[in-house]
Subunit: 386 residues, 2 copies
């Protein structure tokens, strides 16, 4: 499997492919930049599209730099109009970045990943430096950005400081001497600012690569936490399975192509087969990548039990401290049994199931995987998490 081929296959645009090939063929260790939003550290498989691309670059020997825009994050919205963008403290940005990196490490090689905070250089810039930076860009060029243009032409508020943001982000590339910057297609304009600014600052221009935005589970909007149409990297295997089954059929191929690295021929083969089976295989791939393959069967059985009405969908949840526990102790803990001997009687009477599977060994140790459903009789359920 050729890493570069997979990367190119997933890309929407490359500025320019010639420059990319030149950089790759130079043999030098490249710096690959990705901008990270410090205010939303919960990653989902929409984010995984570019993260998987970064992993391929790492496998080719290059270094990944996440640039956390903590400088603007700490400023928040100076106009005070945007209540959804509160100013973050220094500690909050560091904590978010740590969470981000931890989650991204489900995909990336931590040793080849660096985090940079742009406040490190932007907070040191004086008004004179800002004038120098802004002198390198025309108003016309900035107003080409779709949302700026739209707001300007339609007399919607557009504050001067907003025009500075793409320049800051572009300047990050100058500071990092980035070789390649990747991002979603919605970032094309901003990424190109960096490419142009580097030239103005006498550097070799970064290659810009844009990748598709994964559509959410609603099949319409871009996947995002706020629209609750996402599959999170830290979702439980069961949640991944359940959500995978909800992916609209017409976008399932896109999910395979962008969120997995399966070869196209295999995707073709899967999509030619039974569509329900295709969803299950997507869930399997996801759980394999982010959890453990053995969690897959577990999630699948639970899903099917619920589907058959054997486990109701909404049941109480209890958090316990143990991750491994004897079945009798568990029954006492969840208050199904009044004592261990009571628990034993319940098990011997063939009344106890774990995730729909009958338990008949009173010495059995139960591993509290993500979500474990304890059942007694036909109607008594509790979900246990550890």
């Amino acid at each position: 499997m050729n890493h570069l081929e997979i990367i190119k296959r997933k890309a929407v645009q490359i500025f320019s492919e010639e420059d990319l090939n030149k950089k790759i063929n130079s043999g030098k260790k490249l710096t690959i930049k990705l901008g990270a939003d410090p205010s939303r550290p919960n990653l989902h498989i929409g984010h995984s599209v570019v993260l998987r691309v970064l992993k391929h670059f790492q496998d080719m020997g290059h270094e990944v730099v996440f640039v956390v825009g903590d400088f603007t994050g700490m400023i928040g919205d100076p106009s005070g109009k945007n209540k959804t963008r509160p100013a973050l403290t220094f500690e909050e940005t560091r904590k978010s970045a740590k969470t981000y990196l931890e989650q991204a490490s489900k995909i990336l090689d931590k040793n080849k990943t660096r985090i940079a905070f742009n406040s490190e250089w932007l907070s040191k810039m004086s008004f004179k430096d800002v004038i120098n930076l802004t002198s390198k860009y025309t108003v016309a060029r900035l107003m080409e950005r779709d949302d700026f243009k739209h707001r300007f032409e339609n007399n919607l508020p557009l504050s001067m400081h907003e025009l500075l943001y793409p320049l800051m982000q572009g300047y990050d590339s100058v500071e990092l001497k980035a070789d390649i910057e990747i991002g979603g297609t919605d970032q094309t304009f901003n990424l190109l600012v960096g490419r142009e600014l580097q030239k103005d600052y006498g550097q070799e221009s970064q290659v810009v690569m844009t990748f598709p935005l994964l559509v959410g589970l609603d099949g319409k909007e871009k996947m995002s936490k706020s629209l609750d149409n996402y599959i999170g990297l830290t979702d439980t295997p069961f949640e991944k399975f359940e959500k995978s089954m909800k992916i609209p059929d017409h976008v399932l191929r896109q999910y395979f192509e962008l969120a997995t690295d399966l070869p196209i021929e295999e995707i073709d083969h899967i999509m030619d087969g039974d569509i329900r089976q295709a969803h299950i295989l997507f869930a399997k791939e996801l759980i394999k990548m982010y959890d453990d393959e053995k969690d897959f069967e577990f999630a699948k059985i639970k899903y099917e039990h619920i589907a058959k009405g054997l486990i109701p969908e909404n049941i109480d949840t209890m958090k316990i401290s143990e991750s491994m526990i004897n079945i009798c102790d568990l029954l006492v803990k969840v208050n199904f049994a009044t004592s261990k001997s009571d628990a034993k009687r319940m098990i011997m009477g063939n009344g106890v199931k774990i995730n729909g599977i009958l338990i008949n060994d009173i010495n059995k140790t139960i591993t509290i995987e993500s979500e474990t459903v304890v059942q007694f009789g036909k109607s008594k359920f509790i979900k246990v998490i550890s």
Copy 2:
């Protein structure tokens, strides 16, 4: 003579007259701001229009602050495209400001005049402060400025940093807590930025007053040094006289109204009379204001002698150290006489004239006013300055 009435009479626009009256009636000592260009310290009567207004404010007991835009002056043109705007050194800006203040003191009361350099506060601003400042202004509002709008709409280069300049100038008003800012009509946009920003920074808004731009001696363009269509405050009385005679008839009334404080009735009376006499009276006013009334007669005679062809226009000039000198010594000094006794003979022979006036007293002391023409016989001339 009511100072405020004269000020209002000369103003083109006041934002707002109500606010102006309120400030004046508050009885407090007001801060009157005027922006000064540190790169062009040579003042002419075009500048005098607003300077005379400032003098009226001083006579009312208020304080004048010249704000020298040394911050941008020291940056120069960061794009490097504008060769006519070289970056100034710190020393150059201080020297220019000193010259500016000296010349302005021909009109103003030095004790009620303060010079402020905006680098004092702008150079201390961080990127964060700049974002805060720029967040208070919309792109649309800035693009209302005629030259920005024109360049943007006609795809002419307009760099981002140029949009920051009006905000800086406006911020100067915040820093100085200016009560009133005055300027030429070409500054209306920039002055209003200050008025608006002060409100955003929680201050009472400054009153903005704009004044006409005096047309140059060509009767067409705005008076400016670079177009050589100006009457300088430091021009010699003779130069002032000569240039006054060249003012196109159709703009002479404007010169009277803007560059002098003569009452309208007197201007009416003058303009109703002989037009040549009106020019002479304008010259007289100028020389009275900026030199000494007795220099006027002197300049007039010289002008008339030249007009009659009695003194040629282009003659050599010699600079001497004395400002008062005996006529015989003078003749020796300019090499017209070989000795004092030679000089005496020349005077006794009725051959020596000073500024066209026959000298027949060998003990006469000559005061070397700005330009003194020494003449021997019909064709020997030299101009002496001290």
